[in-house]
Symmetry: C2
């Protein structure tokens, strides 16, 4: 976060847009909120679903070497002992003897409280796992943890997946899901919160091929962000130095994004070696290995882990899409969202609320809704309605006017280019489908014409 580069939008503007348009609300807001927990509103939930679906499509559906998984948040406590989390997943915490605020001592520059200058206690290690109790008695025997990462659910299912899918190396297991970390310091909107969602891949390879697969995945993941329209200059690879590698990692690179507060981690890609399978094999007494048909021997695969945050990707997508320009004679805020990610794919806008036009437009709306998330808006001027859709990243507006009643044609307006095209209603769906799939707007459907440029 020491680079001079600047993001295009500041966090305040983004938070305000998210709040105002229903992307993200503070959790339990009527009760004053809950520290660093967030709720995704009507538009946010769609964008978040689209991010996760795009990831799933790219890493599970479209690949031959990957399968999905959905493991539970509550796991056997032994999992977290074997993984090293019970012992070592902690931050050093200090408390001010004067004002009693708490701080992470490894993030402090001096040895006095940054708030009041008071004296600090000696640091003590504070485990970041949330704990709870299964069953009616709160004793040590029934302690379980909320998972701090989804990855362990994949490792402990390695054999189950291998036996039921008969996959051969190299292959991967992918999952999305909530994780929880009782962070001492949170903040930067949804960037670091105590409850968050992950998209994790554990990719199992033959030892010796791990270095090349590590590099493959770094490239692959960078390409994925670019495929969602994120500008390459806002992404930067940060390889970890040897001394900062986690205990389980042989090599690690972060994909950083230029957020409003500076460059920060979007995804981490690690070569975990055989650490996880060896640990769980030793701890469970099960032989977690793979029979190599060629070499006729059991081997313990190495693991490459591309681990991304859903909330961080959401934030990066919004930052990257944010723009301000002039359109149709007015200033506008707009989100250049990739059509796959846009919460609303099209808006149907009747030029008037008059009964016969409204019912005609409603029919078109009802038909499009069968296939996509679509909005209907008949409030205020057409310009105001375009502005509202631009601001939430809707790629296409479908305007229905009085001429539409006669010629059975409607106007499609494109968010980014502002160009308009008039198409027969019977080809509206196929035209929108083609455009949402990235085809050029100006390949005219039969009977269509460019309206204005």
């Amino acid at each position: 976060m020491t680079e001079p580069a600047q993001a295009k939008v500041d966090m305040e503007k983004l938070v305000s847009l998210c709040r105002r348009r229903g992307f993200i609300f503070p959790s339990s807001e009527i009760y004053g909120g809950l520290s660093s927990c967030w709720d995704y509103g009507p538009l946010g939930v769609e964008l978040k679903r689209n991010v996760k679906d795009a990831w799933w499509r790219a890493v599970v559906q479209q690949r031959d070497d990957m399968v999905g998984l959905d493991s539970s948040i509550l796991m056997h406590p032994q999992v977290w002992r074997a993984s090293g989390h019970v012992e070592g997943f902690s931050d050093p915490l200090v408390e001010c003897k004067g004002c009693h605020l708490r701080w992470r001592s490894d993030e402090l520059e001096g040895d006095k409280c940054p708030e009041c200058g008071g004296e600090l206690t000696e640091p003590r290690l504070f485990n970041l796992m949330f704990k709870t109790f299964i069953g009616p008695v709160e004793d040590e025997a029934s302690v379980v943890y909320l998972r701090p990462e989804t990855a362990q659910g994949i490792f402990v299912n390695f054999e189950n997946v291998l036996n039921t899918t008969r996959k051969r190396l190299p292959f991967g297991i992918a999952q999305t899901g909530k994780s929880f970390r009782n962070e001492v310091t949170t903040g930067n909107f949804i960037f670091r919160s105590r409850e968050f969602e992950q998209m994790e891949i554990e990719y199992f390879v033959k030892p010796g091929t791990d270095k090349q697969w590590f590099e493959y995945w770094v490239e692959e993941r960078l390409n994925w962000y670019a495929s969602l329209g994120i500008k390459r200059e806002n992404l930067k690879l940060r390889p970890h130095a040897k001394e900062e590698l986690a205990h389980y990692a042989r090599e690690c690179s972060d994909i950083n994004y230029l957020f409003p507060m500076g460059w920060a981690e979007l995804e981490g890609i690690a070569n975990r070696g055989d650490f996880d399978l060896v640990q769980h094999a030793a701890s469970s007494g099960k032989g977690l290995s793979y029979y190599d048909e060629e070499a006729k021997e059991h081997i313990v695969p190495y693991i490459i882990e591309p681990s991304a945050g859903v909330d961080r990707t959401f934030l990066a997508v919004l930052c990257d899409a944010y723009d301000e320009d002039e359109a149709e004679g007015e200033k506008r805020v707009l989100l250049h969202l990739h059509p796959d990610l846009a919460p609303i794919k099209a808006a149907v806008l009747p030029l008037s609320r008059k009964e016969h036009l409204a019912s005609f437009a409603q029919e078109i709306y009802a038909d499009l809704r069968q296939q996509w998330m679509v909005q209907y808006d008949d409030a205020q001027s057409i310009g105001r309605r375009y502005r509202r859709q631009d601001e939430i990243g809707t790629p296409f507006c479908v305007t229905v006017d009085f001429e539409s009643l006669e010629d059975k044609q409607v106007t499609i307006r494109e968010r980014d280019s502002l160009r308009q095209i008039r198409v027969p209603i019977e080809s509206l769906k196929s035209t929108l489908a083609a455009k949402l799939a990235g085809e050029d707007l100006f390949v005219l459907p039969e009977g269509g014409k460019i309206w204005k440029e």
Copy 2:
């Protein structure tokens, strides 16, 4: 659960199929499992995603009067005091003084331990909410709960959604997500577990119209299950008697399904009146109301709540789809899954592993995978491969034979009817798309012919 009717499949068979084919594994199985937690395997995660997507499409995307939400699992503790959960969400628990097993006293028939006949303690109330601690100090001030239902996240966001979407009554808010209940008694596979996933709608209506909307939603939800192919005779409505209504409910009906263990709740539909908004308004000091433009007054909407379980729907879908018959001269197990729900939409099966045929078939596979979840299987006889796909509910198999190399045609085999049709490769995708959308297999594409009946 007192009816004589019998489900077609017993639970043991279903659990075994789920385990063997990778639908569901016991959580943390290498560590002996974690009581009543389950992991969804490669096929299970796809089926579960399909169930949730089908629900979202029907209740959010395709409706004009509904929006989505994704609120956090950790909420302000005051939410659960206002809702009545801290005070009243508990079961009466007794412990055997002899063997120390614990029971729900309201489920016991006698007053002796069912296990050893020992004497039982007096019942004490045991709260079903899991609790944990935010921040580094475990004291009462920092206690938070894992939500026992997603509904409260909707109620506390009522105003946020109203203000950002400008919806008018009647309208609904829908969300899916994990909930947690520290149940004393769990069991029946994924039917009752401590971590589970919900699909909840809170539908806000004008007081006085609540009875008609309650009836509307009962009908609508029954139709939804039928639309997924669940047989109507396995669904039964069970209206609650006055004396069994929850304290917040004016009326309630369960949609019960004939599970292997008997009739049990799949979904509950409740008329909650104004209970929730009144409680949260009083507790938060915010005026949670709606301005009625016609009557020119603020009103507190009534709420109709159709609340379904993802895991229970998953289980019902599997039970309902399970079948055994004879096919192609062999006994087979098959799942008559609706194409929208089937984890794998099609399997590509080359008749031989010979290089030129294999690469030809792989090309077809790679192309289909861009659009759908598809498997490639070249192991063992074609009969064995059909059996494997039937058992996981794959609606279509695409067989590639040596003639395909010459005539550029492949055979599509339909899971349920066993009919086969031969189609040109260039119309394979459109044919599959039409069939997956429910069109008749025997509307032949150009150049296609029925192979055998």
